[in-house]
């Protein structure tokens, strides 16, 4: 019956009921188990999304918005309750507009980085890239999840690069955030120079902040405008090897203090090897020669004097590295900057880089300040030993964010999913690590199901307000129930 109602909105061909499809949505690569959805509905436009949300409100049927393709790994797209409908936004694939002058792209939720990057490049732009996302990752999904981007100097605010968005709230109301609201269609706004650029408001509220980090619980975004960067006309890329993490963090602080550089992040050898190689045996061989830690920094030439821009930044970087006793290299044993650079401009080549070493992986990520990251590395390493998990098998990715005021700290536990002992050790380590991270001051800003209870343990007042806001924007609680604190 319900399926008939949905078919009336999107057409019968866009309501999926096959067992295999539904089973696919009932779990992901996380350790969590979820409920099997009753069907998958695939809207093609915002009007259909709105109609589905209104239908769900009347039918009291939970909706789980999904914009990225599989494989999913964080549990946020697995229904938390029985009888849910997956609202799969991957058909909404329009790159609606690219404005090269104002460096803005307007896209629908089904657009992936592989689709957006070439379109932007034609206009002399590039996207704010996370680190080698999986091929099917939705750009809007990534942005709404506050996935860290690799260009911290350009990352002014945690919501970047999100500008404006159109959203369908749980009430069924359609709303445009920031500058995009108003009496006109977006096309009419373009005619008068309004390009959905300014994210503030409207008025006293920043509505887009209720969508970012919400895991689809507050509304379904049907398009968003995103900040873009100039496409570099020449890039100078460097690797800085180090036996220890502290000096690399010092260097990152120095660069970010003056907003120098384009891409900037730190990886340990395990993660770097996984990024660079496809085959598990090659990863192992490379790992044997890589230094324990590597900072990657690029200096982008664009604008009026691209050569001079890259040159002065590079010269200052080399001086700063020297001041902290580091020696940047174009190539280090086991890796070169030239080899890594192309991997940072688009999605990960298949298979996804975190799946290559052992097939399975579990991420733990949280926020800290960069200076505290070595403590967390020690904590995780000690916990790994206690949980019979080899510390050297843990991938570490450190991404300064918000112009260096904080750091996204990500530990990846690689394991063979088909080996029960490894899986168990990974699961135990993950649980213990989350507890210890919280106790040590790590902040789970993005509370995915694996650690949401831990994250909210010290956020009772925040949760109370979030629940009240949820009541305003989704009073029937139909949007992705069971996530966050709902």
């Amino acid at each position: 019956m319900a399926e008939k109602g949905l078919a009336g909105i999107v057409g019968g061909g866009n309501v999926l009921l096959e067992t295999g499809v539904l089973d696919g949505y009932s779990r992901d690569a996380s350790f969590l188990s979820g409920a099997r959805p009753r069907c998958v509905v695939r809207p093609g436009n915002a009007t259909e999304v709105q109609a589905i949300v209104k239908w769900a409100g009347e039918a009291q049927t939970p909706l789980v918005p999904v914009s990225s393709g599989p494989p999913h790994a964080r549990g946020d797209t697995v229904p938390g309750v029985d009888g849910a409908v997956i609202i799969d936004l991957s058909r909404m694939k329009k790159i609606i507009r690219i404005d090269p002058c104002n460096k803005v792209a307007m896209v629908e939720p089904g657009v992936t980085f592989a689709e957006l990057q070439p379109a932007l490049a034609k206009e002399g732009l590039c996207a704010y890239m996370p680190l080698a996302p999986r091929a099917g990752k939705s750009v809007i999904g990534s942005v709404l999840e506050r996935e860290p981007v690799t260009m911290p100097s350009h990352h002014w605010d945690s919501t970047d690069p999100l500008l404006c968005a159109e959203v369908v709230y749980g009430t069924g109301d359609r709303f445009r955030t920031g500058e995009a609201s108003g009496p006109d269609t977006v096309e009419e706004q373009w005619e008068m120079g309004r390009v959905q650029l300014n994210p503030f408001g409207h008025s006293h509220i920043d509505f887009q902040r209720f969508l970012s980090g919400a895991q689809g619980t507050m509304g379904i975004v049907t398009w968003a405008t995103l900040k873009c960067c100039y496409l570099s006309r020449l890039t100078r890329a460097w690797l800085v090897p180090s036996e220890g993490l502290g000096s690399l963090i010092d260097l990152a602080y120095r660069l970010l203090r003056f907003r120098l550089g384009g891409k900037l992040f730190i990886l340990n050898a395990t993660n770097l090897a996984c990024l660079l190689d496809i085959d598990a045996a090659d990863i192992k061989r490379r790992l044997a020669v890589l230094p324990p830690w590597v900072l990657f920094a690029s200096f982008e030439g664009y604008g009026t004097l691209p050569v001079e821009k890259a040159a002065y930044e590079e010269a200052d970087f080399l001086r700063m590295a020297n001041e902290v006793g580091l020696s940047p290299q174009i190539a280090i044993p086991g890796a070169s900057a030239e080899e890594l650079l192309p991997l940072l401009s688009g999605p990960s080549p298949e298979p996804y880089w975190k799946s290559r070493a052992r097939g399975g992986f579990q991420d733990i990520f949280f926020l800290s300040t960069s200076d505290r990251v070595p403590e967390f590395c020690t904590i995780i390493s000690n916990l790994a030993e206690r949980n019979r998990y080899a510390p050297e098998d843990i991938g570490v990715y450190l991404q300064p964010i918000v112009q260096g005021t904080a750091c996204h700290c990500e530990f990846t536990l690689y394991y063979h999913p088909d080996k029960a002992l490894e899986s168990d050790a990974t699961r135990l380590l993950m649980d213990a690590a989350c507890e210890q991270i919280l106790a040590s001051g790590g902040f789970f800003s993005r509370p995915y199901p694996a650690w949401k209870k831990i994250a909210y343990r010290r956020a009772a007042s925040t949760a109370a307000i979030q629940k009240k806001l949820k009541q305003i924007f989704d009073p029937e609680g139909i949007l992705n129930p069971g996530k966050l604190c709902f």
Partner: protein
């Protein structure tokens, strides 16, 4: 309306008898700010029933609970620049004067943030941050603006936003006494960590904290905030000294501090000026930027001297700039500040700036680029002197004041200027220059999120004709049936939005995706007893005010119930 003895005693118990007053002479010092005449027809806005000087969030929390018990309105006050921070719906209201909460709690040099209490001014934080090589953004209301007021509570734009952003995007943590009296720490603060992120877990309550503007007192009291800092390229200390020919009360820099350079190119026409401005801002080389500002003027001692100087500026500045009489307008000059930490950075930025200026035909006139003029421009643009009030005693800030692309802001500004010109020609407003077309916007984050349109009209609030003209002018712009209905809601929660007077939400909300409906629900959620003053936020329900069609007419004047 006085508080009852019981009500007063209950409030007194929260802060102690030393730190509460209801003496009329004291109360009147809290309701005299600029703008009152425009909105309320009087020098004074509504007089509060009492003022409390709390020292701790707990005291505020307890007092707010008393307000809930007795249905007393409250509002917090720190630097108290304008009417938004002092307007009250009725006189059964109290103000929290936060001057005892004046600590810079922490400056974290590495992680580039400062944690401050409400009475810390932007300039005071700047002086302390500079010792660690850091800088805080400011808004254009003078040195004494509060950091928390600017970042968390009110609207305000600034020339440094090209580099330091603003409008709440620098907030990394807040401690917040909600209208119920509960104390909320957002983000890492509640988790017990350092205040380095205000987002989460999950979606961010910064969305409630503020949008383009803050709640202007409408949703509680911010008692502590962590704000992002930016690099300061200059010395750890500097001196403001009286300079020859300048007022004693206003010290000035002798020169642009080391680590910075200032350039003032002038272009031939408005289009070239704006095109060059866009290129300069997008080049990511600027620490501060101003279009058509006259910050290179010396400061005057008093308002009358300021008036005289402005008149002189209007008449002679163009001739001074270009003695050859090339028809140059001050409207086509821009002030650019670059900072550098290395000779290579300085060379690159200066070369880039000069090339862009050259591409658009810019000229660096000597009298705008001599060392003292540049030092004045630096101080004005980096720290803000807040001189807009001086010439006439009042001004209309950013009358329509949207944010967006430079192209949109240009169209809007020119349309608005056409209207303003009528009033200028009638002698109601101060006129700058010979009527050259002027457009000014303030870039945000190297223009990557657009810019804020800025226009001001300086009028004399005690000249009835000028005051009447100011209101007529605003009525033309704020009427959503007029030519500005597609550019965004005027004021957007700041500037001239005193809701019981200008009815901005009521008139514009339905046209702008009903944002006001969501805002009202949020207000009700936070403040179920409506005790946080809403005059510059949103009313619990719209009053039944006189209308022209569906347009709610402005309600200038003051009454107990406005």
């Amino acid at each position: 309306m006085k508080l009852s003895n019981e009500e007063y005693k209950a409030l007194e118990a929260t802060v102690g008898p030393e730190y509460i007053s209801q003496e009329p002479v004291i109360m009147d010092t809290y309701n005299q700010v600029w703008g009152n005449k425009f909105f309320f027809d009087e020098k004074h806005s509504v007089r509060p029933a009492a003022v409390l000087l709390p020292a701790r969030p707990k005291e505020i929390s307890e007092a707010v609970r008393v307000c809930n018990r007795y249905r007393i309105l409250f509002k917090a006050f720190s630097s108290g620049f304008e009417y938004l921070s002092l307007s009250l719906m009725n006189s059964k209201s109290i103000l929290f004067d936060l001057r005892r909460m004046n600590r810079i709690v922490e400056i974290d040099e590495k992680n580039m943030r400062a944690v401050v209490e409400p009475y810390v001014s932007v300039y005071r934080l700047q002086m302390e941050a500079a010792k660690k090589g850091l800088f805080t953004g400011r808004i254009g209301v003078g040195y004494s603006a509060g950091v928390i007021a600017a970042e968390c509570c009110h609207h305000g734009c600034q020339h440094t936003m090209v580099f330091t952003s603003g409008y709440g995007r620098n907030v990394l943590g807040v401690e917040w006494v909600l209208p119920t009296g509960e104390i909320l720490n957002v983000g890492t603060g509640e988790a017990g960590s350092d205040l380095f992120s205000a987002d989460g877990p999950g979606f961010s309550l910064r969305g409630v904290l503020r949008g383009r503007t803050g709640a202007n007192g409408g949703h509680g009291v911010i008692t502590k905030a962590s704000v992002k800092l930016y690099p300061w390229y200059g010395p750890k200390q500097w001196d403001h000294k009286k300079q020859p020919g300048e007022a004693l009360s206003k010290g000035q820099l002798e020169s642009v501090p080391d680590g910075y350079k200032v350039f003032v190119p002038t272009f031939q026409n408005l289009d070239d000026t704006l095109s060059a401005s866009e290129d300069l801002c997008r080049a990511e080389i600027l620490c501060a930027f101003g279009i058509a500002i006259v910050g290179t003027n010396p400061y005057s001692e008093g308002n009358d001297e300021d008036w005289a100087m402005m008149q002189k500026t209007a008449e002679t500045r163009a001739r001074d700039i270009d003695p050859a009489g090339g028809g140059v307008s001050i409207a086509n000059s821009v002030v650019c500040v670059i900072g550098y930490q290395s000779p290579g950075e300085m060379e690159y930025k200066e070369k880039c700036l000069r090339k862009i200026a050259e591409q658009w035909g810019g000229t660096f006139y000597d009298n705008l680029n001599e060392p003292r003029a540049l030092a004045r421009a630096f101080a004005d643009i980096m720290w803000s002197s807040g001189v807009n009030l001086r010439a006439t005693g009042d001004f209309l800030p950013s009358s329509s004041s949207p944010d967006g692309s430079p192209e949109m802001l240009k169209r809007l500004a020119l349309q608005e200027a056409e209207i303003k010109r009528r009033y200028e020609q009638a002698g109601a407003f101060l006129t700058l220059g010979s009527g050259a077309r002027m457009v000014s916007w303030r870039p945000e984050e190297h223009l990557s999120i657009g810019a804020q349109g800025i226009s001001t009209a300086q009028y004399d609030p005690y000249d009835p004709a000028s005051l009447q003209a100011a209101r007529k002018f605003i009525n033309e712009i704020f009427d959503p049936r007029g030519q500005f209905n597609r550019y965004g809601v005027p004021s957007r929660g700041g500037c001239l939005q005193i809701e019981p007077v200008t009815h901005v939400h009521q008139n514009w909300g339905p046209r702008y995706d009903n944002y006001d409906m969501w805002l009202r629900k949020i207000k009700k959620m936070l403040d179920p007893n409506t005790v946080a003053d809403w005059t510059a936020y949103i009313p619990p329900e719209y009053p039944d005010s006189p209308k022209d069609g569906d347009y709610v007419l402005p309600s200038y004047g003051k009454a107990e119930q406005l």
